[in-house]
């Protein structure tokens, strides 16, 4: 029943897409389409959380290739991810009911938005390689169309181009991965792949590498992340929220489905790649985020960091699973899925907040914002909440998943392999560093954009955003708070999926007194978000009460003190770039070869002093630029063959024929 409902809702989403084409010219179209998307997302969410019993639901429809059909299946993992995707989808749709009114060309977005939602849901339900890849491409192409919605901007066109290239590359990798999994018999249904005998270690390794390339490039794993900070900010904000908050999670789902489910029992060395790449991704992502001044780009880089954390947790789960340590594996897996849920919530909220700022001021550059907490107090509050959550500060939800990952790391000394024993502490340092940098990054983002004094007229005269957007953001923040205060229920929701894929599960958390969580044993570690929150609330109010009773309540407004030399000009404030300078200088000099250039004219010289920052993207320069140069070089060489004489072409045909015949003759 839930599966049928889900498939019907997906079909309905596709119909809404078609309807949007017809309606796009009318004024109310955007509200109608987004309202329908909201309703269908909620239905899909309901279908995902409906109790199903232990067995997975599956069905086959006579679609697609005639001898395969299209198989769909709803198991614990699909259901969890479907709940995450549709929570994000519902929030983005609700937000867009209000935000969509700002759109100048709604016809470029409306048809693709529901299709994008449908594509993501279909990926989660697909139960054969063909349906999976078709749904995956649906998701990629519809999101590409949404990235290109504002194609007048040359930067957006470039983003769309890079995204399209990387998405095609990723799908190609997945196609080959499924080809290897299906084997020569061509058993493309996932059920057949699970039944099939395991390939050689080489085949498994190759499939793992292809899964990392395919799913990792969509998720934003370094060094395949370069499209992400270009494409996510280019799209309209409700779509950015979906791409960053939700689509990256679908990619994580793809990785889990292939590596934990289809590929069979893991070897320990499988975990090395996700662990290493995840740690590098986390560090690189958050360092890049810290030096960005474009608010949406900053958020996109922070998404990359969070994906790194998820992949580290998944790598730990693989390592434990391969050694038959079911409980630690379940803990790491739970941590990964918990972080997936958290990130979907707070990253969607942050992107929606950035969209509200953009529509109110027309600015994305934090250096031209400031003081928005006065002009947009509600948006500021909600954005602040998301900043606290993403910075992994108690009592909000980001801390809980961070805590679970650390607990999993603390169990890893019992791994028998030496390579893992040496790798895991290094990964732990990277995680701890990225968590600390993340807090700094969001202090900077919120502090520069929302606090202080307005740096531009647009920021000064901004208006609070519409109630629909506020409702969507408030809902997300409430969920963040809820997941932080009573994490036990969420952990219990993840448990069935963990049981399915790593063979163990953490103890049921629901029955622990006071709603605290103790993933292994209470004597080992426990955390109670609710009590910490209550204690903090009590302490804050107690302090306020004491001050009120025994102290003075007098208050006077005056100019800022600033050591006696206050300057009214907003230009005297600390900017985002100056805030990031210490980090740029300490860690950035390694990660980006960052250098400050100061051109200070000699006394008496009248030319102005200049200050510049030089930053290198080492991934682009070290990996992509050489590839591009090689492609250019080959194209240039091949270009010569376009200008041959007729004898030359005939000679070429002859040479090719001879070479092919020789190859056939030599082939055993």
């Amino acid at each position: 029943m839930p599966l049928t409902l889900a498939l019907c809702s997906i079909a309905a989403l596709l119909c809404v897409g078609a309807l949007a084409v017809a309606l796009a010219q009318s004024l109310a179209a955007s509200r109608v389409v987004y309202a329908l998307c909201l309703g269908l997302s909620l239905i899909l969410f309901a279908a995902a959380v409906t109790p199903r019993g232990a067995a997975a639901l599956s069905t086959a429809l006579p679609l697609g290739l005639p001898w395969i059909g299209a198989h769909f299946r709803l198991d614990a993992l699909s259901a969890f991810f479907m709940a995450v995707v549709n929570l994000g989808g519902a929030a983005a749709s609700l937000y867009a009911i209000g935000y969509g009114a700002h759109e100048k060309h709604p016809s470029r977005i409306l048809p693709f938005f529901p299709v994008f939602l449908a594509g993501m849901n279909l990926v989660l339900l697909a139960d054969d390689a063909f349906a999976f890849l078709v749904a995956w491409e649906f998701m990629s192409l519809s999101s590409w169309a949404l990235v290109m919605a504002h194609h007048q901007d040359a930067e957006n066109r470039r983003a769309g181009y890079v995204y399209l290239l990387m998405a095609s590359f990723g799908t190609l990798a997945l196609l080959m991965a499924f080809g290897l999994l299906a084997g020569s018999a061509g058993a493309y249904a996932f059920a057949d792949i699970r039944e099939a005998a395991r390939g050689s270690p080489w085949t498994c390794g190759l499939v793992l590498a292809l899964a990392i390339l395919g799913a990792g490039s969509k998720a934003g794993l370094a060094p395949l992340h370069i499209w992400l900070p270009l494409a996510h900010p280019a799209a309209p904000s409700q779509v950015s929220a979906l791409m960053s908050g939700v689509m990256t999670k679908v990619a994580v789902y793809g990785f889990i489905r292939i590596v934990f489910d289809l590929l069979g029992a893991p070897e320990f060395w499988w975990s090395m790649a996700p662990l290493t790449l995840g740690a590098i991704t986390a560090m690189l992502g958050i360092l890049s985020a810290t030096i960005q001044s474009d608010l949406k780009k900053l958020l996109a880089y922070s998404t990359i960091e969070n994906i790194g954390v998820v992949f580290v947790a998944l790598g730990l789960a693989l390592a434990f699973k391969s050694n038959g340590m079911a409980l630690p594996a379940a803990l790491a897996f739970t941590a990964a899925l918990f972080h997936v849920f958290n990130h979907a919530l707070f990253k969607s909220l942050l992107f929606l907040g950035a969209g509200a700022v953009q529509s109110a001021t027309g600015e994305r550059d934090i250096e031209r914002l400031g003081g928005l907490i006065h002009a947009m107090p509600r948006t500021a509050f909600l954005f602040l909440g998301a900043c606290v959550a993403i910075s992994a500060l108690p009592p909000l939800n980001g801390f809980v998943s961070e805590w679970l990952v650390f607990q999993a790391i603390l169990l890893s000394p019992s791994l028998p392999q030496w390579s893992l024993k040496l790798l895991v502490p290094a990964v732990g340092v990277a995680l701890a560093l990225s968590a600390a940098l993340c807090a700094g990054c969001f202090v900077r983002a919120f502090g520069v954009a929302f606090l202080g004094r307005a740096r531009s007229l647009a920021a000064k005269t901004a208006q609070e955003t519409d109630p629909w957007s506020l409702a969507a953001m408030s809902g997300l923040l409430a969920l963040c708070l809820l997941a932080g205060l009573v994490p036990s229920y969420l952990i219990d929701t993840i448990t069935p999926a963990a049981k399915l894929f790593v063979g163990g599960h953490v103890p049921t958390q629901g029955g622990i007194p006071w709603l605290s969580i103790a993933p292994i044993a209470e004597s080992r570690s426990s955390y109670n978000g609710l009590l910490v929150f209550l204690f903090m609330a009590f302490s804050a109010f107690f302090a306020a009460w004491i001050v009120r009773v025994f102290g003075s309540t007098a208050l006077r407004r005056g100019p800022a003190w600033d050591c006696g030399y206050p300057d009214q000009s907003p230009a005297t404030q600390y900017t985002g770039s100056s805030f990031a300078q210490p980090i740029r200088r300490t860690l950035g000099s390694v990660a980006f070869v960052a250098r400050d250039h100061l051109d200070m004219p000699a006394p008496g010289d009248t030319r102005p002093a200049r200050f510049g920052v030089e930053i290198h993207d080492r991934v682009w320069e070290g990996l992509y630029a050489p590839i591009l140069r090689a492609v250019d070089f080959c194209a240039e060489q091949l270009d010569r063959t376009h200008y041959l004489t007729i004898q030359g072409y005939l000679g070429l045909v002859f040479a090719t024929l001879v070479a092919l015949l020789l190859a056939i003759a030599i082939w055993p």
Binding site: I373, K421, A435, S526
Partner: protein, 315 residues
Amino acid sequence: MIFDLAAQAAQMILVLSLAPLLLGFTRKVKARLLRRRGAPALQPYRDLLRLMRKEVVLADDASWLFRCAPYLIFAATWVAAALVPTFATGLTFSWSADLIAITALLGSARFFLALAGMDVGTSFGGIGASRETMFASLAEPAMIMIVFVVALIAGSTQLSEIAFHMLSHTELRVSYGLALIGLVIVAIAENGRIPVDNPATHLELTMVHEAMALEYSGRHLAVIELAAALKLLLYVSLIACIFAPWGLAPHGADLRAMAFGALAYVAKLAVGGFLLALFEVSTAKMRVFRVPDFLGAALMLGLLGTLLLFVSRSL
């Protein structure tokens, strides 16, 4: 039950009431070591009282966040300080947050203090917030690695369990030494003591913590100062609880054991304050961009300790 709750409440009140005294005592010792007479040890209480009774002068551009932040900072620090065992382990609510959560609670306090520094839009607030962020970006991971070392030895991240383990297994390990040095470095940096920051100066080029709190006055400043004192107390109690757990009353102990524990705790605080003052007068403040090296050393010590424990359980 009532007794357990009372013990928990006593711990909360104990840390709150001793925090300014530790600060005053440290200042007094420091002054005596410099051959000055110094203010009496009770001076911080008088300062707090005086500040509380003064009117607040709020900058024109300050927002609601600026007015709420002191209470949030105080709340996070107080809760964190009250969760570190002082005179007894295994108090009623000791399991509600472990050492990682305590670290993160201090992170929350720092987060809001840095935001408050940026709220008025002065350059000093920004400079303080920016530098604090740089220090924290190394101090926090160093702290986490130290937590890893301690947790791997004790097999738990719960402070009560750690203290119990340390009490019952008296052994010398290399990783203990590494963790202790690392923790002391982190404690010095986090509390803005010499050589990282100078708590006694308002020389603008050097200040970090003071720069963020520069715009605060009256009761807001009092609350922030109290939170800073609590943070110092927290780190001293943390070091005492992990590396000198003697005298801690075990879970379910009677009143006498607890009273003895409290006495031992006050003695430990006095020793800690004295050592801090001694260290501060014997070294000079370092340049801001030397601090990352100092903190990097703590991070490396933590990592080394963790690696040793991954390699062998007995190191």
